[in-house]
Amino acid sequence: MITTTHYMVLSAGLFTLGLLGVMTRRNIIIILMSIELMLNAVNINFIAFSYQLQNPIGQVFAVFVIVVAAAEAAVGLGIILAFYRNKETINIDEMSLMRW
């Protein structure tokens, strides 16, 4: 029997994967993708609970999460392009101008 706990564990795992990606990778594109992974983990939770409670509102919020993800991806990639045009790199470690 698959309970909501399973889905939650799954989403926790996926979330942690995204977290690891954010923590370890230096390629900013991949970091953005890891963030997408985390958002998906969130969505899995929403859907799982909407299934458990038999309540579609969870899906509504998942839709909103997807919207935000789309906006975030668009703007983030735009920033990456602009940055790349200036510094010829997408290495996040070279994006450390804001420091003392």
Partner: protein
């Protein structure tokens, strides 16, 4: 029985592709794995009676967002691989440790059954999934819906302004 098998298979695929996404050497490969991951998540949605969301997942994520990533990856043709230069002050390992710790804690919480996972009476989710969501979105959640659309518009303009070379 069947759904259990489906779940475990899909979960394995999702986690596996996720791991591949963050470990793949070439960016394009990780993009591909990301697509695969999203498709598996969509399949998971289908098993959870969220067909509309599954399709949206495929359409928006796989069909839109990730294509965007792919474009960027292609536009950014690097002379040197992005990962060579590493700042000594990065605390990567500590990050890994912390993430794993968080994971352990979460799993502990779930495993200890503190999230009340018993399934309530079914039937709330009708097979006419689309109508349900449509009514919710356009009646109860109209304002958030409009706000979200405004957010999209703003993001679109912002992306254009950022990415365009000369305005």
């Amino acid at each position: 029985m069947v759904d259990a098998v489906a779940f475990y298979v899909l979960a394995a695929l999702i986690l596996g592709f996720g791991a591949l996404v963050i470990t793949a050497k070439s960016t394009v490969h990780s993009v591909l794995f990301l697509v695969a991951d999203f498709l598996c998540v969509a399949a998971l949605y289908v098993t959870l009676q969220a067909q509309f969301l599954a399709v949206i997942q495929v359409m928006v994520y796989a069909g839109g967002i990730v294509v965007l990533y792919l474009f960027v990856v292609m536009l950014v043709n690097l002379k040197r691989p992005p990962e060579v230069h590493s700042d000594p002050r990065r605390l990567g390992r500590l990050g890994v440790v912390m993430s794993v710790a968080v994971l352990v804690e979460l799993v502990a919480i779930f495993a200890l059954g503190w999230s009340k996972p018993e399934v309530t009476g079914g039937g709330g989710l009708s097979p006419k999934n689309v109508e349900q969501l449509g009514r919710l979105l356009y009646q109860d959640y109209l304002i958030p819906f409009e706000v979200a659309s405004v957010l999209l518009l703003v993001a679109m303009i912002g992306a254009i302004v950022l990415a365009k070379r000369e305005l």
